[in-house]
């Protein structure tokens, strides 16, 4: 039975090897080479590429990535938990429909959505035009850090809501009743029963928000207007300029950072399960 199902995974495995592992392997090789574009004529083995990691621009971009990803994740946790909790507690019959509406923006293209958001942030946008409002030119959000955070939260919030909602669904209502029965009020019940039991959803959601926030480049570029450079933008620049070697190096460094953070979260998560 199990073996037969395992065969069904073969197309995926091929996909994975061909489009993820093989390119990653080539990227690791490229780190140690110096060449122009993918031209194999003047190929040279070198460690010089690693010097790029000491560059101030790289470090600032890396710091920016962490900073914005962290801020966005925290905001997503707060907004996501509140939305998921309100939905979980509500008496709406068709909660699935509400969830679908919540993830509806994800159905449209990320770039289009971000562009539209950028447009709204301009002093003269479609809304002010339609309403005929006169706006102060200096009030623009466009190109600011806040704009980037808004864009990141707007884009990745559904990834936080869904796992938290799923985790909340699994909390038996009877447990909350038991807590109330034992003398804990609603507030205490939430912090001692509901929150710890749905914490797994928060962890999953945080990973799912933090990682794309950190590695993405479209949102900071469009909403940050070049004022905010994240590591994704730098990698993109290197690849655009056909410097595949340094581009690969930075991409692999990000990959390692991400893997390490997932491992830490996983370890924390498993401990949280057993110790409590």
């Amino acid at each position: 039975m199990n073996k037969r199902f395992r065969k069904m995974a073969i197309p995926y495995l091929i996909w994975l090897y061909l489009l993820a592992l093989v390119p990653t392997f080539f990227m690791v090789v490229l780190i140690f080479l110096d060449m122009e574009g993918l031209d194999t004529d003047n190929i040279r083995f070198t460690f010089d590429n690693f010097l790029q990691l000491k560059e101030v621009s790289t470090l600032i971009a890396l710091l920016n990535s962490f900073k914005y990803a962290f801020i966005s994740t925290v905001i997503c946790i707060i907004l996501g938990y509140i939305s998921a909790y309100v939905l979980y507690k509500s008496h709406i019959r068709n909660k699935f429909l509400v969830l679908t509406i919540l993830i509806l923006p994800m159905w449209s293209n990320l770039l289009l959505r971000t562009q539209a958001l950028a447009n709204i942030m301009e002093p003269h946008n479609i809304i002010t035009d339609l309403l005929g409002i006169k706006v102060n030119e200096n009030m623009s959000l466009a190109g600011s850090g806040i704009a980037v955070v808004i864009g990141l939260v707007f884009t990745y919030l559904p990834f936080m809501i869904l796992p938290i909602y799923t985790a909340l669904e699994k909390v038996e209502p009877m447990l909350e009743e038991a807590s109330l029965d034992l003398g804990a009020n609603e507030f205490q019940t939430f912090f001692h029963v509901t929150l710890p039991l749905s914490f797994k959803g928060v962890v999953t959601g945080s990973v799912m928000v933090f990682l794309p926030c950190m590695s993405g480049f479209a949102i900071p570029e469009i909403l940050g207007k070049g004022n905010i450079v994240m590591i994704g933008n730098i990698i993109e620049q290197f690849f655009k300029n056909m410097n595949y070697n340094i581009g690969s190096l930075l991409a692999i460094v990000i990959l390692i950072l991400i893997l390490v953070s997932i491992a830490i979260v996983n370890k924390f998560d498993r401990e949280g399960e057993t110790i409590r």
Partner: protein
């Protein structure tokens, strides 16, 4: 009897327009083991939840200690509950589950109990339910019986005046259930707490209760001691729900005399009019089986099944089937005579709708 602790005063509750509890009146006394017995959907759990505070009655009053508590939150009532599927906290271990109620008090009141005191109390509760060695075990490693004990200890730690038990033994196997029945009764006697126990199992109700409330369709059918309810059911529902019964239509032909199955029998005095139709209830074990020529009722045996302690015999008389319990095997198609002592004949008023 002793002091009234809980009073349900004409409470009614409907869900989606369907009446679940209908104008119910009930008084529960101090130190009493009261069982609410009824089939599923009879409103017993809803009644319990109204006492616990999870459900608010649409009409009527829930009174605890002479105070109307309709609007009092569950955590403010002197009531604790053992839930049907235990509802233990999966993220806490056994001892933390048990001390949950005290931990809350510890953190949020002026009288700060020392942590050690909480620990002592939790350990005492653990001992009470005989789980001393399980303090740090995870809930998921416990068996059904152990979980039930944890749930019990957890509910008792706040020293409630009233303990509500919502079919706590439904998930246990028979042997464990019988042991637990005895233990629960012992515990109630020792602790002097009022137990309100919900079950659909009549044997459970019989063994443990001081008084039983038989409920059906949101209405109390009968309230009384286990003996009263078994020997003197007030209607067909109670007679059928509590044990097995033969119910035959008869006529109260004279004072202390009832006619059924074409014969006249002596019975005890009942306040019926002479000539009034009545339902005659005879328990299967109350028939005396004799030779066919020595009795007024003669029936033909249609089946005889060995049940362990006794044989269950089905016998036919005028196309009416009677169930009889005897200690002797009687072969199918034999004719048997059936005698009944006057005090074993119970008469009930005929209900209009049946």
């Amino acid at each position: 009897m002793s002091k009234v602790l809980i009073e349900l005063n004409q409470i009614t509750k409907a869900f989606d327009g369907e009446i679940v509890v209908n104008n119910l009146n009930l008084q529960v006394y101090e130190n009493e083991f009261l069982t609410i017995l009824g089939p599923s959907g009879c409103g017993k759990t809803t009644t319990l939840r109204m006492i616990a505070g999870f459900v608010k009655p649409d009409a009527g009053e829930v009174i605890i200690n002479d105070k109307v508590v309709n609007d009092l939150a569950p955590y403010a009532r002197p009531v604790n509950t053992v839930f049907q599927r235990y509802a233990l906290f999966p993220h806490l271990n056994v001892i933390k589950n048990i001390s949950f109620g005290l931990d809350k008090i510890n953190k949020f009141t002026l009288h700060k109990m020392l942590k050690d005191a909480v620990k002592d109390e939790a350990n005492r509760a653990l001992k009470l339910v005989k789980l001393e060695n399980f303090a740090t075990k995870k809930i998921s490693y416990l068996s059904g019986g152990q979980m039930q004990r944890v749930a019990l200890a957890r509910a008792l730690i706040n020293r409630p005046q009233i303990l509500l038990l919502d079919e706590p033994m439904a998930a246990l196997d028979l042997k464990l259930r019988q042991d637990m029945q005895y233990e629960l009764k012992e515990m109630q006697r020792k602790l002097g707490i009022t137990f309100i126990f919900i079950t659909h199992d009549q044997e459970e109700a019989m063994t443990m209760s001081d008084r039983i409330v038989v409920m059906n369709k949101g209405i109390i059918q009968q309230l009384g001691t286990p003996k009263d309810i078994y020997n003197e059911p007030v209607n067909r529902f109670v007679a059928n729900f509590i044990g097995e019964s033969n119910i035959v239509r008869g006529i109260y032909t004279n004072d202390k005399e009832v006619t059924f199955l074409g014969e006249t029998f002596a019975c005890e005095a009942y306040p019926f009019r002479i000539g009034e139709a009545v339902d005659v209830v005879i328990r299967p074990e109350d028939f005396d089986v004799v030779n066919a020529d020595k009795a007024k009722i003669v029936a033909k045996v249609t089946s005889c099944i060995f049940k362990g302690v006794h044989y269950e015999i089905c016998a036919n008389i005028n196309d009416l089937e009677l169930v009889i319990h005897t200690y002797e095997e009687i072969l199918v198609d034999n004719l048997i005579g059936l005698n009944v002592d006057p005090y074993e004949i119970h008469l009930m008023k005929v209900e209009e709708d049946e």
